[in-house]
């Protein structure tokens, strides 16, 4: 049963569960009447762009621009017709897909049930169940990937796309393979050729870009960024904008390791170049990890950073210690302290902002290698949103013996290793002397949102992004989301709601989605975006009370949840 009143009220309610008592109009009215809301929307943060940690990035806007391309629809039916001629894509039931947005909606309710069944039986569920910590699971996933690859026979390659895993392929636009998430790309040469042909065909004939094909259960998303082509194939009911985002992260990851100008130049002088020559296993691992990270990290979805919750006076002491040490060094750009993937503090050169997606690339780099532990590493890194054409040099080291707290110093000068190494020593000494390393460790242990403080039994999870700060905070994942497959399943649902919320064809403020095992609320307000997960039978009263408490709590704790102000060198 679906109640869709989106056109009138700017909110959407999907009920998969007949008993859910929520009606969309009520919900929107109630939420917008919350007293705590006014505090969030009138927040003065972001006005001081100068001292903001991240530039008040017009991501939402930017994404709309990127998504707007999706709205040309005539192309899709055209392409599906063409591909059926080429006999390459399964096209059952897709020919009526002239406007996939509407088709998407109609299919929604009926697909939810199958989707959940699919997931449970999918290969992903065979992942070993362990704690949800990111790093611990990566090797297991790798093992799983290898298992898939080894079990593939030549015949299986023909069936590869029919499996239930999410495929990601990267090729250069000469049709040569670069990367495949699953399977040996050498055995996928034919498939890559077909993909390249599809892309070129639409570009030549329609002067248009091929973005998305929905064919039966398959969703195929394309991203052509010369000289590379990214293709994602999935059977899950994820929104195309999120899938496109995942491909964009792959693109950024490649630029980050290889630098866009260098790739472009190489293909200019050598159009037949095989980019795999520049990608060693370490670089492929970064790609695998960024893909996996996107599936469990709401910060990548909402393009914002997660900060460590720490008292603001401690944070500013840390920031000052870093900034004062570096001050005067002309070619320094950023100095970042990370604790288990959380941002603790950031100091930077005036006028230079770090983009949240660049931060995710840095976090991925730090998390993907044990080689940085116990040593001082010196790595050239390109931050695509900062400058895709050049590279910075990162000095990466840990400040504690357990290797939880990581210091990343970034300069433009490749000769400065020794200077940065001295900085590291001084920063480390200052922080230790003032007991600040200990404070970070205390915060790491404590870092979670107590459900008690919100005091709502039906609340399972929430993520709140301050749009002005480009930062988010979220509650700790508790049961039932403590296993990796539950974790992935939850974020699949949240990404689905996110996709609905940001759908350029109908701008929504509120999406309420009563799914099989939980109810989800997505709310896009002027000052913030939040995603809240409740138990499935939650009542309207509980939802509004609970949201009110969350908003009050966040306003009260704002100064320790977020980095309100940046330090300069």
């Amino acid at each position: 049963m679906t109640t869709d009143t989106s056109s009138n009220s700017n909110s959407d309610v999907f009920n998969n569960n007949k008993c859910s008592p929520i009606a969309s109009n009520d919900l929107a009215t109630l939420l917008e009447a919350l007293p705590s809301l006014s505090l969030h929307n009138t927040s003065n943060i972001g006005d001081e762009v100068e001292s903001a940690v991240f530039i008040n990035n017009n991501d939402d806007h930017e994404q709309t621009v990127e998504e707007r391309r999706f709205t040309s629809t005539g192309l899709i039916s055209e392409l599906i017709r063409q591909t059926s001629v080429l006999n390459t894509v399964h096209d059952n039931g897709a020919s009526d897909d002239a406007s996939y947005h509407s088709a998407d909606e109609q299919a929604l309710v009926s697909t939810i049930q199958t989707r959940i069944d699919d997931e449970q039986s999918s290969a992903i569920s065979t992942l070993t169940t362990t704690s949800s910590s990111n790093e611990q699971n990566i090797p297991k996933h790798e093992q799983y990937r290898e298992d898939i690859e080894q079990s593939l026979t030549d015949d299986d390659y023909e069936q590869l796309l029919k499996g239930d895993v999410k495929h990601i392929f990267i090729l250069s636009d000469n049709g040569k393979p670069v990367f495949s998430r699953y399977g040996d790309e050498e055995k996928l040469l034919t498939l890559m050729g077909v993909m390249q042909t599809l892309i070129s065909f639409s570009e030549i004939h329609d002067r248009n870009q091929l973005n998305y094909i929905k064919a039966g259960r398959s969703r195929i998303v394309f991203l052509h960024k010369e000289p590379l082509v990214f293709v994602l194939v999935t059977h899950l009911n994820e929104h195309h904008s999120c899938l496109l985002q995942q491909l964009n992260y792959c693109y950024y990851q490649i630029i980050s390791t290889l630098t866009l100008s260098r790739i472009k130049h190489k293909f200019q002088v050598q159009p037949n170049f095989d980019l795999r020559r520049w990608l060693s296993n370490a670089e492929k691992k970064l790609l695998h990890n960024i893909i996996e990270m996107h599936e469990i990290d709401p910060g990548m979805m909402m393009t914002c950073a997660k900060c460590l919750t720490i008292p603001s006076n401690i944070r500013s002491q840390i920031g000052l210690a870093v900034a004062q040490t570096i001050r005067g060094q002309k070619d320094m750009i950023f100095a970042i302290i990370l604790a288990q993937g959380h941002l603790v503090s950031i100091a930077r050169l005036k006028q230079y902002h770090l983009h949240p997606s660049d931060l995710h690339l840095l976090i991925n780099l730090v998390n993907s290698s044990d080689a940085f532990k116990g040593v001082e590493a010196w790595v050239p890194v390109c931050l695509p949103r900062f400058d895709p054409g050049g590279c910075l040099h990162a000095h990466i080291s840990y400040l504690d013996d357990a290797c939880d707290i990581c210091l990343v110093l970034m300069t433009v000068n490749a000769e400065n290793f020794q200077i940065l190494s001295d900085f590291k020593q001084k920063i480390s000494d200052k922080l230790k002397k003032n007991g600040l390393i200990g404070q970070i460790n205390i915060a790491l242990v404590r870092d979670r949102m107590f459900s008690d403080e919100i005091g709502c039994n039906e609340l399972r999870y929430f993520a709140y992004k301050s749009r002005g700060l480009s930062q988010y905070t979220c509650s700790k994942l508790l049961a039932p989301y403590t296993t990796k497959e539950q974790h992935i399943r939850l974020f699949d649902l949240i990404r689905y709601v996110y996709g609905r919320l940001h759908d350029p064809s109908h701008q929504l403020k509120i999406v309420y989605y009563a799914a099989e095992y939980e109810s989800l609320l997505g709310w896009l307000a002027p000052g913030f975006e939040m995603h809240v997960v409740f138990s499935p039978m939650v009542t309207l009263d509980t939802v509004t009370t609970c949201i009110d408490r969350i908003l009050t709590y966040i306003k009260r704790e704002e100064s320790q949840l977020f980095i309100m102000k940046c330090e300069y060198f």
Partner: protein, 205 residues
């Protein structure tokens, strides 16, 4: 960046409709031949692994449509090719005359560096047929004129010379591969002077 790594070669087959491009490819890859004619729509792909001296080479063969109404991919298709095979039918004089324009079109569309030395191979196919119209010497002269393009006469039906022709394709493409491998490094970022702040908010894509 080891040069011992397996090499991938993109090979384009061009020529008039019906000269046997798909048959040659099928004979080479699958050792199969069929008398039935099925026009290639747009493109077809096959891959084959071969050993050239001590190097393992994967050939990614892009079989194109000879019929004009299916020829639309042009640039996109030819981009980044490592070698181009030009095929004509020894029993059809026009298919031989067309080689000139196929070669020109490829060079214009693909725009390879150093077009004079781009590796081509010319194949005269269907030598098993009785009614031969294009003489071997004529074809050889044309190839010599075009900077000594290697020339082979084959029968895709009987599998004559097919293997040899494709071996030359791989060998010549590989030889060119060795010439270029320039090391290059990413450019450093320069910080602009204070009074001209860089706008890092602009979307670079």
């Amino acid at each position: 960046m080891s040069s011992r790594k397996k090499v991938l070669l993109k090979v384009i087959i061009l020529g008039d409709s019906g000269v046997g491009k798909t048959s040659l490819m099928n004979q080479f890859v699958n050792r199969k031949f069929t008398n039935q004619y099925k026009a290639t729509i747009g493109a077809d792909f096959l891959t084959k692994e071969v050993q050239i001296d001590d190097r393992l080479v994967t050939m990614q063969i892009w079989d194109t449509a000879g019929q004009e109404r299916f020829q639309s991919l042009g640039v996109a298709f030819y981009r980044g090719a490592d070698c181009c095979v030009l095929v004509y039918d020894v029993t059809v004089a026009n298919s031989f005359k067309a080689l000139e324009s196929w070669r020109d079109e490829f060079l214009i569309q693909a725009g390879p560096r150093d077009p004079e030395n781009f590796p081509f191979v010319v194949i005269g196919n269907k030598i098993d047929l009785e009614n031969r119209l294009v003489q071997m010497r004529k074809a050889q002269n044309w190839c010599t004129d075009k900077n000594n393009i290697p020339y082979y006469e084959t029968s895709a039906k009987e599998g004559v010379n097919v293997e040899k022709a494709f071996e030359t394709v791989a060998r010549n493409a590989l030889a060119r591969e060795k010439e270029i491998d320039t090391p290059d490094f990413p450019m450093p970022i320069r910080i602009p002077t204070e009074d001209k702040p860089k706008d890092s908010s602009g979307c670079p894509c």
